[in-house]
């Protein structure tokens, strides 16, 4: 975990919507290290998907990068405009797994053909029998039994979990260095979710992948992620190692997010919910975007945007609470409880 594979610097993404401009990503800095798995969490509309789609030039037609850069392998992806250049990045360097396996396969092509299509683009050296073997190899790797027979079948002959495995096989067949998993388990039931997560962990090792995981399921995050980035209103507001985020969260939004975990709820007590709605990104956000929903907000939160305060070399948060001049604010009870758990864990190790 030393070499930076992809470096995002002060990235801003805007969308033109009916004559108005929506500022979807508001200045993100993030280094992704080779071989790590980083999870990006946040509620719907926080910009998780848009952020990662920009790595592959897959923003919708009305979206554009207004400033900033995405450095990968010595080039700035944000400057690519030609479709031809993107085709080399897409799949071959960065591949993506999408949310709904039921709709992400072409219904009229056999899955063997769909995997072959990826191999032919990114690994054209495999032809004929070698290509066939390669397809069977990928299907075996993602845990599909009888790969030879299954390769000739159409997507509708597969169950949801099996289709997600096929989608993963297609992504692998592109031979990527970075794999973006955009909520890959959201559409699956719980037992299948666990299998897919385990599969991704195995494949990450085997293919030396860097995985970017987008999810709002913190259970999944705890299971797979080395690092966690918490997003809110188009910004990363807290970033740290997974255990730092889970046991020592610092941003009030992360507190709120963790407090709403049903697993931490007490019997007889209503589950915690975050009041209000995310800010309207058509308007300029003043101060801390989360302040209006934050019962512990300081006055300055409404006036000035907080900078990033370092908690540890690997952990920072964007909140005025970490400023030395800030008053001591008590985190919610649940957070104190999990902090204690963390201390105990450390002691045990």
């Amino acid at each position: 975990m030393s070499e930076v594979i992809l470096s995002v610097q002060n990235l801003n993404i805007k969308f033109n919507l009916r004559g108005r401009v929506l500022h979807a990503i508001r200045g993100i800095d993030l280094d992704i290290y080779k071989g790590e798995s980083i999870a990006i969490v946040g509620e719907s509309g926080s910009g998780k998907s848009v952020f990662t789609k920009s790595f592959m030039g897959l923003l919708d037609g009305n979206g554009f990068i207004s400033s900033g850069s995405i450095l990968y392998d010595g080039r700035d992806l944000s400057k690519i405009t030609r479709a031809k250049d993107w085709q080399k990045i897409r799949g071959g360097e960065i591949a993506m797994i999408m949310q709904d396996p039921m709709t992400s396969l072409n219904p009229l092509k056999t899955i063997g053909d769909q995997i072959a299509e990826a191999i032919q683009i990114h690994q054209p050296e495999f032809k004929g029998e070698a290509l066939k073997q390669k397809i069977i190899g990928y299907l075996t790797d993602v845990g599909i039994t009888e790969p030879e027979r299954r390769a000739k079948q159409y997507p509708h002959e597969f169950s949801g979990g099996m289709r997600q495995r096929v989608v993963i096989a297609i992504a692998l067949a592109c031979n990527p260095k970075i794999l973006i998993c955009d909520e890959p388990t959201t559409a699956l039931d719980v037992t299948i979710q666990a299998q897919i997560i385990d599969l991704l962990k195995d494949l990450k090792k085997k293919y030396a992948l860097t995985i970017v995981f987008i999810t709002h399921d913190l259970g999944v995050v705890a299971n797979i992620a080395d690092r966690v980035a918490v997003m809110y209103a188009g910004q990363i507001i807290e970033l740290g190692m997974a255990n730092e985020i889970f046991y020592d969260p610092r941003h009030p939004y992360t507190w709120a997010l963790l407090s709403s975990l049903p697993q931490l709820g007490e019997k007889g007590v209503s589950l915690y919910t975050i009041h209000g709605t995310p800010p309207n990104l058509f308007k300029a956000v003043v101060g801390d975007a989360f302040a209006p929903r934050n019962p512990r907000a300081l006055k300055i939160d409404f006036i000035k945007e907080p900078p990033c305060f370092e908690v540890s070399p690997t952990h920072w948060a964007k909140t005025w609470l970490l400023d030395p001049r800030a008053p001591q604010v008590e985190p919610p009870e649940v957070i104190k409880y999990i902090r204690e758990l963390g201390v105990k864990n450390d002691a045990a190790n």
């Binding site: 897959l58 897409r90 799949g91 993506m96 992400s104 219904p107 009229l108």
Partner: protein
């Protein structure tokens, strides 16, 4: 598949028999003038003896059995009004090939022009090509066909220096009728193909294909087009049928000796035997068209299994 086909063909045959029976019975309710060339001048005895001769005084079921017996021999009776005492089959034999040739050529032209039109409009959605195409489609759909058919005839014959009178042996004479008949279908195919392709383009598998690094043209043709074409294919045989039958105006405009208008003329003239035969012909083509449409769809879409446990569609 074979099992489904036999079942399906069997059902089609039953449909045809029912259509024949209904048409036959309806024809018996028509005024008897239609069986005689000079009805007004005939005496009652002459009419009665004429009807007896034709077997019209037999009970209805007997007549129906006779009709079926003759039909299998290829005998549909003789025309009484359109061309007196000429066998119906002989009249149709000359006309059917002309109409089918005209219809086939026009469908071919419609596909060759309509499919690229729809595809390009979807590919460049919102760009000038799309706008131009939409203008064309709206014009064709909104303006009564008579208007542009006439314009094409007036200016087309002049510019291309084509004789006004149709001559089947001269290939130049086919150009304008075929083109006129195609315009509607070109607009129709273009409109629907564009619509289905735009629908497909927003689906997840297209996004995945793009994320794989597939080039935009290949995404368009390998993924979007094939999926968009499935719903279109079902209607191709029926639209072929409509083109063959529905060319009344174009055929009469260019005086093409085809079947266009034949049915209407025969119904108007109460030429009952002719009506019977023509309706039977159209019904057969229609039933075959629907059958072909379904079979074509199965060939293109693996999700549709005909027969089998699910019982097909």
């Amino acid at each position: 598949m074979a099992k489904y086909l036999t079942k399906r063909i069997g059902r089609s045959l039953i449909t045809l028999v029912l259509i024949i029976c209904v048409v036959f019975i309806l024809m018996r309710m028509m005024p008897i003038e239609g069986y005689f060339q000079n009805f007004e001048k005939l005496s009652d005895e002459q009419i009665q003896s004429g009807l007896r001769e034709m077997g019209m005084l037999d009970p209805l079921p007997v007549q129906l059995v006779h009709f079926f017996q003759n039909m299998f021999k290829g005998d549909f009776g003789v025309s009484h009004k359109y061309r007196v005492n000429v066998a119906v089959t002989e009249i149709l034999r000359d006309k059917i090939p002309v109409s089918i040739k005209l219809g086939s050529l026009s469908i071919l032209v419609s596909l060759v022009l309509g499919i690229p039109l729809g595809t390009m409009m979807a590919r460049f959605k919102g760009k000038w090509f799309d706008k131009f195409g939409t203008l064309f489609i709206v014009f064709i759909e909104a303006v009564p066909a008579v208007v542009y058919h006439l314009l094409i005839q007036m200016y087309g014959t002049k510019w291309l220096n084509i004789p006004m009178l149709f001559d089947g042996a001269d290939w130049r004479c086919w150009i304008l009728p075929v083109f006129s008949m195609s315009l509607g279908n070109i607009a129709y195919y273009g409109m629907w193909l564009r619509r289905y392709m735009v629908d497909e383009a927003n689906k997840d598998y297209v996004r995945l294909a793009r994320a794989k690094g597939v080039s935009e043209n290949k995404v368009m043709f390998r993924h979007i087009f094939r999926n968009a074409f499935v719903p279109m294919v079902q209607y191709l045989p029926s639209s072929f049928l409509n083109t063959v039958i529905g060319s009344i105006y174009v055929e009469s405009l260019y005086s093409v000796p085809g079947m266009g208008g034949l049915l209407v003329n025969c119904v108007k003239g109460s030429d009952n035997t002719m009506v019977q035969a023509i309706v039977l012909l159209y019904a057969t083509v229609g039933v075959i068209g629907l059958l072909l449409g379904d079979v074509l769809m199965t060939v293109l879409d693996p999700r549709i299994s005909l027969g089998g446990k699910e019982g097909g569609r």
